[in-house]
């Protein structure tokens, strides 16, 4: 599965010497507004190396951020730089960039191999080189068997992987993936996540966007949280989570004899509040979510309670955002 690192065909690569003083991705006070809607406001960001997850709800500005990076749209204010170049004015840095757009629509009439090799040729590769590279990346994403099938017949996960293959064909230093896991089944998710992690290990700069925290968690620890066009958090996921543990968290239990269960749980040091929204429902408030979550099943079983549901409604991006933004979601 590992790509051939000494591969041929990196057309623009020979001329390029890494300039370590310049961050791969650099945004300085960037804003983008459509009329009166501010899609992004005053984002400053510098990234080099490793996998970074960009989290945000739908419409938070993740895609706008990527479009700015890919020179699709022009910033209303501020400067965007990729490898030190303005992507709106100069497409040259894309020789070292791979982009996976969120759009579902693809060129359904091509085979995966044709698709990847055609776009490889846009990097200045010759036909035979492009084909060789295409075979390599399709193998990397695990699509060798279906390389000669038309994309129109592909499942969603295969399409996503084809898109990723197309983005990797020039062996890029920066890979931007817009919602690569959306709509994929668990198997495809796992494959794609492995691919992304692999790329991170190879020292590439990878940007992945998602609106599902747990997905990003499985890929990377470095995250950026975008909300309402603003950067609300940037850093290690664990650090953010640890701080998240300090705020109240809710666990919801549904069962027959819920009052008895409440008695047993009340003594637990992590619990600081209980409430009963209905006869067979129990809400537990805790400051130490992780700890309680680990011990809860044991308590339930040891005391012989009957539980039909356990749910933690807060454990998602939304609650994280509530915390980070002070409750203004």
């Amino acid at each position: 599965m590992m790509p051939d690192m000494t591969q041929e065909g990196k057309a623009a690569k020979g001329a390029w010497t890494p300039d370590l003083s310049v961050p791969t991705v650099y945004l300085n006070a960037v804003s983008k507004s459509y009329g009166r809607i501010h899609a992004l406001s005053n984002i400053t960001l510098g990234l080099s190396g490793g996998v970074t997850g960009i989290l945000g709800l739908n419409g938070a500005g993740k895609s706008t951020l990527f479009k700015l990076l890919m020179g699709k749209i022009r910033p209303s204010a501020g400067e965007v730089r990729i490898f030190g170049e303005d992507p709106w004015k100069n497409p040259a840095p894309y020789a070292r960039v791979g982009f996976v757009p969120e759009h579902e629509k693809m060129h359904d009439w091509m085979t995966a191999l044709e698709f990847v090799s055609t776009f490889a040729r846009l990097h200045g590769m010759s036909k035979s080189q492009a084909k060789k590279e295409a075979v390599r990346v399709l193998d990397f994403v695990g699509l060798t068997e279906v390389a000669d099938k038309e994309i129109g017949q592909f499942s969603k996960g295969m399409r996503q992987r084809t898109k990723i293959a197309h983005a990797l064909v020039n062996d890029p230093d920066l890979i931007v993936l817009d919602e690569p896991l959306q709509g994929c089944d668990p198997l495809a998710r796992t494959t794609i996540m492995n691919v992304i992690r692999e790329l991170g290990k190879m020292g590439r700069t990878v940007l992945v966007s998602s609106h599902i925290l747990s997905e990003i968690e499985r890929i990377t620890e470095q995250i950026i949280i975008v909300h309402h066009g603003k950067l609300v958090a940037l850093g290690n996921l664990h650090a953010i989570r640890e701080r998240l543990d300090q705020i109240p968290h809710t666990i919801r239990l549904v069962g027959k004899d819920i009052k008895a269960l409440a008695k047993d749980i009340l003594d637990h040091p992590a619990v600081f509040g209980l409430s009963f929204p209905s006869n067979n429902e129990l809400l537990i408030q805790t400051y130490h979510f992780g700890q309680l979550h680990a011990e809860l099943p044991r308590i339930v079983v040891e005391n012989g309670h009957q539980i039909s549901e356990i749910d933690n409604p807060d454990d998602d991006l939304e609650s994280l955002l509530v915390y980070l933004t002070g409750g203004s979601v």
Partner: protein, 431 residues
């Protein structure tokens, strides 16, 4: 590794161009609508050509323009024979049968189409020949024999009018009964070549093929979101614009060449000629080919530009097509109207007309003599059609400079559309 890398930036550009063009070409090829459009175009041109073949193979009625196959006095001798031999046309008691020795009466059909127009020596200022000898007969006065007063009896003079149109001035009874079928076929043939060249290839195919296939080259990809793949590559947007057009031309140009070659082949073989093929038409066909290829180029650039400019680019393209229809109709009647300079089709028509002027130098004369028709009974069959579809080169220049200038203007228009389209595309935010 070094071996496989592009040795120059040009090689890299070349590879990108080929990749995008090939991609576009294959994309168009995989679409059903492409084949429908091309098939309908083929069908339309085939139908027109079939009408032409039918017109060439049917026989035209031989008309006795001067009426001298008629026997006015009923003595069995046609008027023409009587006139030539100097007997009284209107007296049944005076006819060549009373000569010594008596002359047998001619079959009336001898006096139909008996004095054809002498194409071989008919050029401006030259003289026709009174083939049947009914002009220079005894008993006619000198002034009757020289009605056009050029000092030569029984001839035909072609002069130019103030507007450069040929005027036929005959002495009377000279070339007065042309061969209707020969004329009709020659005139219809030329008229058809011009009509299908101008309206069929340059106008119908030249506008509708790009309208169907080039309007969406960029716009469709932008709407569906697939443009994102291409724009995430190290390639400038104006390059994408140009290479997409190249890919389209890779399909449209061979199609036009094939169609024109096929029709040229059929008309060359079927049309009236001395040999087995009308080589003299090739110049016209070449001009038609040039004009339609350039028209397809300009229109595809323009429609693609309109598609880039606005989501509803088609709304702008349709009135433009209607404008071009108006302009091509204008070229027929007034090829030198100044307004034509603001169209694409006007310049393309100049190319065709210049080619026709070079290949068929005597078209104007053919029209003039056909409209004159021997001096009796109006235009010959085919003359009006040829008059409709043939026109002068419009710019007031000689044919070759006209052609070069017009092709240059078309190229300039295409380049302008590309630059504008590229610039617009570059400044477009793509969601």
């Amino acid at each position: 590794m070094a071996k496989s890398q592009p040795t120059s930036i040009w090689r890299g550009l070349d590879r990108k161009a080929m990749a995008v063009a090939e991609f576009t070409f294959r994309q168009q090829r995989k679409r059903l609508s492409t084949w429908v459009v091309m098939g309908v175009g083929l069908l339309a041109m085939t139908v027109l050509t079939m009408f032409y073949v039918d017109a060439m193979s049917r026989s035209y009625e031989a008309i006795d323009q001067d009426g001298d196959s008629f026997d006015s006095d009923g003595d069995g001798y046609p008027d023409g024979q009587e006139r030539m031999l100097g007997t009284d046309l209107y007296s049944s008691f005076d006819h060549p049968g009373l000569f010594d020795p008596p002359v047998a009466p001619d079959d009336p059909s001898v006096w139909v189409n008996e004095d054809d127009i002498d194409w071989d020596n008919l050029a401006e200022g030259s003289y026709g020949v009174d083939d049947d000898g009914d002009c220079n007969v005894e008993g006619r006065t000198t002034s009757q024999k020289d009605a056009n007063r050029n000092g030569v009896a029984c001839d035909l003079v072609v002069t130019s009018s103030l507007f450069g149109e040929p005027i036929v001035n005959s002495d009377g009874y000279v070339d007065e009964d042309p061969d209707d079928e020969a004329y009709a076929k020659e005139a219809s043939h030329r008229a058809f070549v011009l009509a299908i060249g101008k309206f069929g290839f340059v106008f119908l195919l030249g506008i509708f093929v790009p309208l169907f296939m080039a309007t969406g080259l960029i716009r469709d990809e932008m709407t569906s979101g697939t443009m994102h793949f291409m724009l995430a590559k190290p390639i400038a947007r104006s390059e994408v614009f140009l290479y997409r057009i190249l890919g389209f031309l890779g399909l449209a140009w061979p199609y036009m060449v094939g169609m024109i070659a096929a029709v040229a082949m059929v008309t060359g073989l079927v049309g009236p000629s001395d040999g087995f093929y009308r080589f003299s038409d090739l110049g016209v066909w070449f001009a038609v080919l040039l004009a339609s290829l350039f028209a397809v180029l300009v229109y595809s650039m323009l429609f693609c530009l309109l598609g880039v400019m606005w989501k509803h680019g088609i709304v702008l393209a349709l009135p433009f097509a209607a404008w071009e229809l108006g302009m091509i109709l204008t070229t027929l009647g007034a090829p030198d109207a100044a307004i034509l300079r603001f169209s694409v089709i006007g310049w393309a028509m100049n190319v065709v007309d210049a080619g026709a002027a070079m290949a068929w130098t005597d078209t104007g004369l053919l029209v003039a003599t056909g409209m004159w028709g021997g001096g009796y009974g109006g235009p010959l069959e085919g003359a009006e059609a040829l008059n409709t579809f043939a026109s002068n080169t419009g710019l007031g220049l000689a044919p070759l400079p006209t052609m070069i200038l017009s092709l240059g203007v078309l190229l300039f228009q295409a380049a302008g559309c590309w630059l504008l389209g590229g610039a617009l595309f570059k400044s477009k935010e793509i969601d």
